[in-house]
Each structure stands twice: as structure tokens, then as C-alpha cells.
């Protein structure tokens, strides 16, 4: 609990809210011992004294009553009524929600229909109707406000209960012969209680505000007793001549509601696991670049040259080194396979090329990316944007999430064309048709008007490829474009990419974890592990004679069609967490060839020409 409190208070605003609320509560609790005047004794001779008048710190109201005393008593009343309303609404609403969610079926249907009806009313109107029936009075206002908030709790709690009621522990309880009542109270209630508390913490402020509102209208507390709302209502008549009588209760309502809101936000944020981990990525157009050293010069003459690239995720004090100094080179018309397990940093490396890593927390901390000899990462946003999609295009893994769900395929394709040139709508449309035909989508006219969710996975992927081709880029980075597809579609897509590469001289970086795919398409490949390249070379050479133990075991994981009975070897252990890398070879803990020296220090990528390996005891000697 103290950890939770610390989490809430870490949010500075929530701390302020807690402080203000605590101060108000302390004052209210201390009412009996404070030297206050009686709140309801009138002294018409002293009416409308200004604040700081002798004996009346906040002045007096239209009947000469001490405002401070009335304020504190009114605050106590308002808080009590608001909290009571919240408790009543929460217990009735939650009971309804739990019952509806647990029993489901017809009971659920009837209850939720009724709740929907209540929610069809504009909020305050229902409260007014209830007060109209019961008659003005603070108790009736309390009932009205509570009743109006019941549907909110019922609906929220039902949603959670429905999910819980299908879980195994409820089935187990039922099979063990527990009665409904016992299951509801012993099994379900403890699990929904946190949600109830959160819902209360976010609504109690509203309820205080609403009861104050009803009192303001003269429908809540009746004279001479006054809550904050009726104080404000009574003061309204003298608002112009004696504004302090209005300002005092008004500011108090404001302070109470604001502090409760702040605290409620803090509670909600503290319970949000995404905020807790600090992993919420923030929306920047370009990945933050924070290079310790000036970018290294371009090493070669490839279309795309990546040099010593380092991309990190900085979350709080932790630094995840997702890409830890990799260099790649791709020539025009060449296909480079980038291969590795999930979490090896291959996608992050690919996204870093045009600054697309979610940032913050992503930061490019070192290295350089050269496109035809020009350093990309140093470009201002305008020029980088111009290059995205026009010279370097991406094909992403899951086109259902990577295509915009609310735009038609045609609109997304034409947009890709039109953002990079002053093209008329008709020309762009013609180009879109051409592109769809190029990726062999049947009936392109009709598909232009389709939404992504109306297409099959293979068709969607083709749209993704068509979009990447829209501006005839020099480099295409394909991030597992076939992983979500079945095998026949996968083969078609690979063949398509291969054709395009040969026809148009595209340079392709093909990211995958699948050696079968690599063998079909790639000229060379680079194997990544824990943010580093551990082996690279021509595809046949690596496949025929893997030098790094990791590569060998990765290949051993691939089942072969018609290969007969063979034991598939999973690699024992898990890839390392990249914020806490071991010294030396990152694969050593999972490697059966590892020796002490492997763990001692940095292992270099050695070899000659295009064939290199980062291993002290390679499976095959790499000359």
C-alpha cells in the first residue's frame, strides 16, 4: 500500500490535491474545537461585513451570520452528502452490475435495458425529476444524486464482472458447490472492489458538485442550515453589492472538487500499468537524435549504408540498447536479409533508418545512415519527410494494423503519391490503379473503394507493397511482410518482391526470423542477436556453413518439408534483456561452446570480404 501511495504522490499535482483536501478535511474535523461563532445566529446589524472585519475573518452574510463558521459547517455538510451519495450510488450500482454480469442471459438483458433507459436522460434532468417528486430537501437531493449515478456504476462493474465470470476460478467455485451468493461475495466482489474504488474516486467530485447545484437551485438544503450550494444560492441576490458572500463558498466548492479530481487522476494514473512502466511512447514525428560522437563517414558505395547505428530506449533510469552498433550495406538491386529472434533489434534498426522509432522513449544515440552518400539522420524534418516514402519505403508486418482503418485503400494509395509531388487527383488515381495491377490485385477498380477490413490478409499485404512502390523508391525495407500470411500467399508475395527487385533495381532490406524465406529471396544475410550483428555473409555460404553457434541453432530450428523425422532443436534459454547485457558475448549464457574468455570482454566481428562472424570459437573457420 505504501508503494501505491508513493506512486500516487510521485505525481506532483496529485500531491497538491492530497494536501489541499487534507487541509480542508482537517478544518472540518476540527470544527468543534475551533473558536467559531454559531453558524445560524443572525445579527442583522452586522450584515455584509467585509472579510477581515473585527471578529469575522471572512466577514458576514446578508443576515449578519459569520461566514467562516457557515463556510466550515457548509463544507462539512457538502462533503458528507457528496460522499454519502457516492457510497450509496456505488453500492447499489455495483450490486446491480455484479448481478447482471454474473448471471448474464435474460437477467442481464433486462437490467441493462433499464440502465440504458436511465442513461438516456440528460443527467441533471433526472435528478430534478426525482427532487420534484420527493420535494426539496437535502436528503432528497442526496437520493436524487445517488440515483442518477447508479447507472454509471452498474455499467462499469457489469463490464468487469462479465469478463471475470468466465474465468476459471469462478467455474471452480461453482463446481465445488458454492452457492451464487457466496460466489458473488467471496469470489467476485474482492476482484471488482478496486474498480469500484477508482470509479468512486473519479465521481465523488461530481456528486459534491451536483448536490451543491441542487442546493443552489433551492432544491437541496433548506434554511437556516446551509451547504455550500445553498450558501451560494442565497448570496446570489447580493452578488453585486457584497461579492465576498458568493466568492467564499464558490471558491470552497472549487477547491474541494479540484483537489478530488487531482487525487483521482493520480490514483488512476498510478494504476495504469502503461504509465507505471513509463513505457508510454510519445508522438514525435522523428526519433530523437542524441549522438555522443559526430557521425562516422560513409564506408562504402552502397545505396544504403548504415554505420555503427545505436538506438536505445530510455525509460526512466534504464537504457535498453535495442540496436547496439550495427553496420549494414545494400547495393542497388540487392536483397539483404536481416534475421533474428523477436527482440533482437532488427525492426528497431530498420525503423531507425528514417527516424521512425517511437520517440521518446526511442533515441538514436550514435552512428549514421547514408543514402547515396548523404547522411539521413542529420537532415532537418522537412527533408527527412521528403525522403520517407519517396526514396526509402517500408512494408510493415501486419497490414490490418498498419493500414488506416477508416480510409479507403484508394485514398491511402493516392495519398502516398500525392504527398510527394504536385499530382492531380485523376493522375494519382490512375497511378493507384497501376500500382494495384503491379502487385497483381484482381479487379483493382473495385478494390480502390474498399476499406482495409474488407480485404483478405494477402490482399492487404499487396496494398502495403503497392503503397511502398508508389514513388519508385531506391530502397524498400520490408519488416516481416509475410509473417502474418499463410504459406501459399507468402510464396506469391516473395515472388512478387523478387520480380520487382529485378525489374526496378530496388535495394531490399528483408527482415525476418525465417531462414526458409531468406533462402528464397536474399543475396546476403546478416544475423542479429541482442542488438548486434553476430554473423554475415552470402546466403548460401551462411546457410551451408553457419559459423556462429547462434546461427547454427537458429537454422536447426527450421523444419524441412520432406526432411523426414528429425528432432527440431529449440535454443535453450531466452534472449537477454537489452538493458542489462552480460559482458562479452551476449549469446554465451545459451551457448554450448562458450568458455570463460567469451564472457570476459567484447568479441569483435572478424572475417574478410563479406563473410564475418562475431565468435571466438566459431563452428566453421571464417577466413
Amino acid at each position: 500500500m505504501s508503494g501505491f501511495a508513493r506512486l500516487v504522490l510521485r505525481n506532483r499535482l496529485a500531491g497538491v490535491g492530497a494536501l489541499v483536501l487534507a487541509a480542508i478535511l482537517a478544518l472540518v474535523v476540527l470544527i468543534p474545537v475551533l473558536p467559531l461563532d454559531p453558524p445560524n445566529i443572525t445579527a442583522t446589524g452586522d450584515r455584509f461585513l467585509r472579510p477581515l472585519a473585527a471578529g469575522h475573518l471572512l466577514g458576514t452574510d446578508h443576515l449578519g451570520r459569520d461566514l467562516l463558521a457557515r463556510l466550515l459547517h457548509g463544507t462539512r455538510l457538502s462533503l458528507a452528502v457528496g460522499v454519502a451519495a457516492a457510497l450509496i450510488a456505488a453500492s447499489i450500482g455495483s450490486t446491480i452490475g455484479i448481478v447482471a454480469g454474473y448471471f448474464g442471459g435474460r437477467i442481464d438483458n433486462v437490467i441493462m435495458r433499464a440502465v440504458d433507459m436511465l442513461m438516456a436522460f440528460p443527467y441533471i434532468l433526472l435528478a430534478l425529476a426525482i427532487v420534484a417528486a420527493l420535494g426539496p430537501g437535502l436528503m432528497n437531493a442526496l437520493i436524487a444524486v445517488a440515483a442518477v449515478n447508479v447507472p454509471f456504476f452498474a455499467r462499469n462493474i457489469r463490464g468487469i464482472t462479465v469478463a471475470l465470470a468466465r474465468r476459471e476460478f469462478i467455474d471452480a467455485a461453482r463446481l465445488s458447490g458454492m452457492g451464487h451468493l457466496r460466489i458473488l461475495t467471496v469470489e467476485l466482489l474482492p476482484n471488482v472492489l478496486p474498480t469500484i474504488v477508482i470509479a468512486m474516486s473519479t465521481t465523488v467530485g461530481w456528486m459534491i458538485l451536483e448536490t451543491a447545484g441542487l442546493s443552489f437551485l433551492g432544491l437541496g438544503s433548506q434554511p437556516p442550515v446551509a451547504d455550500l450550494g445553498s450558501m451560494l444560492g442565497e448570496a446570489r441576490a447580493a452578488m453585486i453589492s457584497a461579492p465576498h458572500t458568493s466568492i467564499v463558498p464558490g471558491v470552497m466548492i472549487f477547491l474541494i472538487v479540484m483537489s478530488i479530481n487531482l487525487l483521482g487522476d493520480g490514483v488512476r494514473d498510478a494504476l495504469d500499468p502503461r504509465l507505471r512502466s513509463g513505457a508510454l511512447s510519445r508522438p514525435r514525428a522523428v526519433t530523437l537524435i542524441d549522438r555522443a560522437a559526430p557521425p562516422p563517414p560513409a564506408p562504402g558505395d552502397g545505396v544504403l549504408e548504415v554505420r555503427d547505428l545505436e538506438t536505445q530506449f530510455r525509460v526512466g533510469a534504464r537504457v535498453y540498447r535495442a540496436v547496439n552498433g550495427i553496420s549494414l550495406s545494400v547495393q542497388a538491386g540487392e536483397c539483404l536479409g536481416l534475421i533474428g529472434e523477436s527482440g533482437s533489434g532488427k525492426s528497431v534498426a530498420a525503423l531507425s533508418v528514417t527516424g521512425l522509432v517511437a520517440s521518446p522513449p526511442g533515441v538514436i544515440a550514435g552512428g549514421a545512415v547514408y543514402l547515396d552518400g548523404e547522411e539521413v539522420l542529420a537532415l532537418p524534418y522537412r527533408r527527412l519527410r521528403d525522403l520517407r516514402g519517396r526514396r526509402v519505403a517500408y512494408i510493415f508486418q501486419d497490414p490490418l494494423t498498419t493500414l488506416h482503418p477508416l480510409y479507403r485503400v484508394g485514398a491511402q494509395l493516392t495519398e502516398a503519391v500525392r504527398v510527394h509531388g504536385n499530382v492531380s487527383a485523376a493522375t494519382a488515381r490512375a497511378r493507384a490503379l497501376e500500382l494495384l495491377a503491379a502487385v497483381r490485385i484482381p479487379n483493382p477498380e473495385r478494390q480502390l473503394a474498399a476499406y482495409p477490413h474488407e480485404l483478405s490478409g494477402g490482399m492487404r499485404q499487396r496494398v502495403g507493397i503497392a503503397m511502398a512502390l508508389a514513388n519508385e523508391p531506391e530502397v524498400i525495407i520490408a519488416d516481416e511482410p509475410t509473417t502474418a500470411l499463410d504459406v501459399t500467399v507468402q510464396a506469391q508475395i516473395l515472388a512478387l518482391l523478387d520480380d520487382l527487385r529485378r525489374e526496378r533495381g530496388l535495394a531490399i532490406v528483408f527482415i525476418t526470423h525465417d531462414f526458409g524465406v531468406v533462402a528464397q529471396l536474399c543475396d546476403r544475410l546478416a544475423v542479429m542477436y541482442a542488438g548486434r550483428i553476430v554473423e554475415e555473409g552470402p546466403t548460401e555460404a551462411v546457410l551451408a556453413a553457419p559459423a556462429h553457434p547462434y546461427t547454427r541453432r537458429l537454422i536447426a530450428c527450421v523444419p524441412e518439408l520432406g526432411g523426414g523425422r528429425r528432432v527440431l532443436h529449440a535454443i535453450p534459454g531466452l534472449p537477454p534483456v537489452v538493458h542489462d547485457l552480460p559482458a562479452g558475448c551476449a549469446f554465451a549464457p545459451r551457448c554450448d561452446r562458450a568458455q570463460d574468455v567469451c564472457r570476459a570482454g567484447e568479441v569483435a566481428l572478424t572475417g574478410s570480404g563479406t563473410r564475418r562472424v562475431r565468435c571466438l570459437f566459431p563452428e566453421e573457420a571464417v577466413a
Binding site: 499535482l13 443527467y123 434532468l125 433551492g218 452578488m239 521528403d386
Partner: protein, 315 residues
């Protein structure tokens, strides 16, 4: 689309019936005898019996409900005893004023709220975001009636920029500029809370959307950032913003009660409060049913807008 609208309209019928049942049931809970309340000191047994017969109060509850419903369907909401005129006439006259006030407020809160949310999200943790978040916090914590009073003090009494209250100037008023001058403060005061709520929700909806893969795709295509935010992201975020607009419309419509009292605006809200204090049951019943029905209609419009925006909703 036409079929979808028709379907939604048909599905509204049980909701409307439910509303009348709820209102009628609430009013039936009234303790004591309405006739006595109406007659006050004239409540002789003969008079009570006559009123009960006139209002149909001597009949069983269920029968009374159907008589009331049937009359309402024919446009007869009954007669207000405190105003001595047909309830519907009074409501229609008053509703016009409420619609002007609430409608203006709704437009303000929708535009300002979404704008603030978008800016806030696009500049997350930047200066603009902090300023907006702070303003929004104040906006959602201040009671609208108190805000209205403070606005009157500042802008009408001290600065004398705007009229204190009412809908038109008593002398020489009545034109549109006059109405607008009277409308500024109440509309803003009424919009404050809803603006804050919409801004908050728009901010979190935008942040959620900006994390999505298709936003990365748009950026990878080279779409300019302004278009990414206002086109791709906002469009997707509207899917979760629009239902909140519907809910907030309800808050604005019913929150008008307070503002109409503070600014002496001749709307339905003030009529309802007066009717409650005078225990004019038919006027309360009629007013609540009428406003709730309008709100149901508005929500259908919201659903239709939603289905136009999101092709994944089966129409």
C-alpha cells in the same frame, strides 16, 4: 444508410416509452395528495374530489399512465395549473431559448475541446500541453453557476462590457447582435465543464491513436506531420470522441438549468425549477419528457455521424 437511420429511429421507440414510464413512476412516488398541493388553502373535500376527477387522479395508476401517454402522443401535455396555460405551449416557447443557449455552448465546447485536446496531445508534456491541462483542470472543477456569477461580476458589473442577464435588452433590443451580446457569458459559462471533459478525452484518444501502427505508416509514407495529426490521427480519434460529444450534449442541455437561473435566461430549465418549487407536476413531467426525447433524438444523430465516420460499423 437510410436503413440504418430507420433502424435507429425504431430502436428509439422503446427508449422513449421507457423514459415516459420512468418519469411517470417517479411522479407517482409523490407523497401526499397533488390535489391538496394544487389547492393549498382551498382544499375542501369537494374541491379535492373535483380536481382529482379533472386530472384523472381517481383512476388506477396504469390507466392514468396510458391516458397521459395517449394525450401526449396527440400533442396534449396537459395544462399547467401554475401558469394556467397548456404545458406544451409553455415548453415550446421556453425550449427555443434553451436550444439557442445549449446549442451555442455545445458548438463552443466541441470545437474548443477537440482543438485543445489535439494540441495537447501533439505537444505532449510541452508547454502548450501543460497550460491546456492546467486550464482544463480548473474548467472541470469550477461549478458552472459560480463561474457564471463571477463572469457577471467581472464583465458586466466591473468592466461593463456585456449585459448582466436576460436574453434581450428590455428597451430597443430584440435583434441578433443584442441576442449575441446577451448570449456570450451564459454560453461560455455553460460550455466550460464540457469543454474540459472533451479536451481531456480528446487528448487521451489522440495519444492512443498516435501510438498506432497506421500512424507510423503515414509517417513512413512521408505524410507531413500536420496532416498526420489533423487527418490520420484526428479522424481515427473521432471514433472515440463522438460518443463523448453525445454524452456531453446531455450535460450541456441539462446543465443549462443552472445557467438559466444565474443569467435569468427564459429557458426550460428555469421553468422546471419554478415548476418544481410550485409542485406543478404536469409541467415537470412534460418538460422532462420533452427534453429527454430531444436528447434521444440528438443521440441518434450522433450514432449516424459515427456510422458515417467508421466504415467498420455495420449499417
Amino acid at each position: 444508410m437510410g436503413r440504418y437511420i430507420l433502424k435507429r429511429l425504431i430502436s428509439a421507440v422503446p427508449v422513449l416509452l421507457g423514459i415516459t414510464v420512468i418519469v411517470f413512476a417517479i411522479m407517482a412516488m409523490i407523497p401526499g395528495d397533488p390535489a391538496t398541493a394544487i389547492l393549498g388553502s382551498y382544499a375542501t373535500p369537494e374541491n379535492v374530489a373535483r380536481i382529482n376527477r379533472d386530472l384523472g387522479l381517481d383512476k388506477p395508476l396504469v390507466q392514468r399512465y396510458f391516458i397521459w401517454l395517449g394525450n401526449m402522443l396527440q400533442g396534449d401535455f396537459g395544462r399547467s395549473f401554475s401558469l394556467n396555460r397548456p404545458v406544451l405551449d409553455e415548453i415550446l416557447e421556453r425550449f427555443n431559448a434553451t436550444l439557442i443557449l445549449a446549442g451555442t455552448s455545445f458548438v463552443i465546447c466541441a470545437i474548443l475541446g477537440i482543438l485543445a485536446g489535439v494540441v495537447s496531445a501533439a505537444r505532449q508534456y510541452g508547454l502548450a500541453d501543460k497550460l491546456i491541462t492546467f486550464t482544463v483542470l480548473i474548467g472541470i472543477s469550477i461549478p458552472s453557476f459560480f463561474l457564471g456569477m463571477m463572469m457577471i461580476l467581472l464583465f458586466a458589473v466591473n468592466l461593463r462590457w456585456l449585459p448582466v442577464s436576460g436574453m434581450y435588452a428590455i428597451y430597443g433590443g430584440g435583434d441578433v447582435p443584442d441576442l449575441l451580446r446577451h448570449l456570450v457569458m451564459p454560453a461560455l459559462a455553460l460550455a466550460a465543464v464540457a469543454t474540459g471533459v472533451i479536451a481531456r478525452l480528446s487528448r487521451s484518444a489522440m495519444l492512443e491513436v498516435l501510438r498506432q501502427d497506421y500512424i507510423r505508416t503515414a509517417r513512413a509514407k512521408g505524410v507531413p506531420e500536420g496532416r498526420v495529426i489533423l487527418g490520420h490521427a484526428l479522424r481515427a480519434a473521432m471514433v472515440s470522441i463522438i460518443p463523448v460529444l453525445g454524452i456531453q450534449a446531455g450535460f450541456v442541455l441539462s446543465g443549462a438549468v443552472y445557467i438559466e437561473i444565474v443569467f435569468q435566461w427564459p429557458g426550460v430549465g428555469r421553468m422546471l425549477v419554478d415548476a418544481i418549487l410550485k409542485r406543478d407536476i404536469l409541467l415537470v413531467q412534460g418538460g422532462v419528457v420533452f427534453v429527454a426525447a430531444c436528447y434521444v433524438g440528438f443521440n441518434i444523430a450522433v450514432d449516424v455521424a459515427q456510422s458515417l465516420l467508421d466504415p467498420r460499423i455495420k449499417t
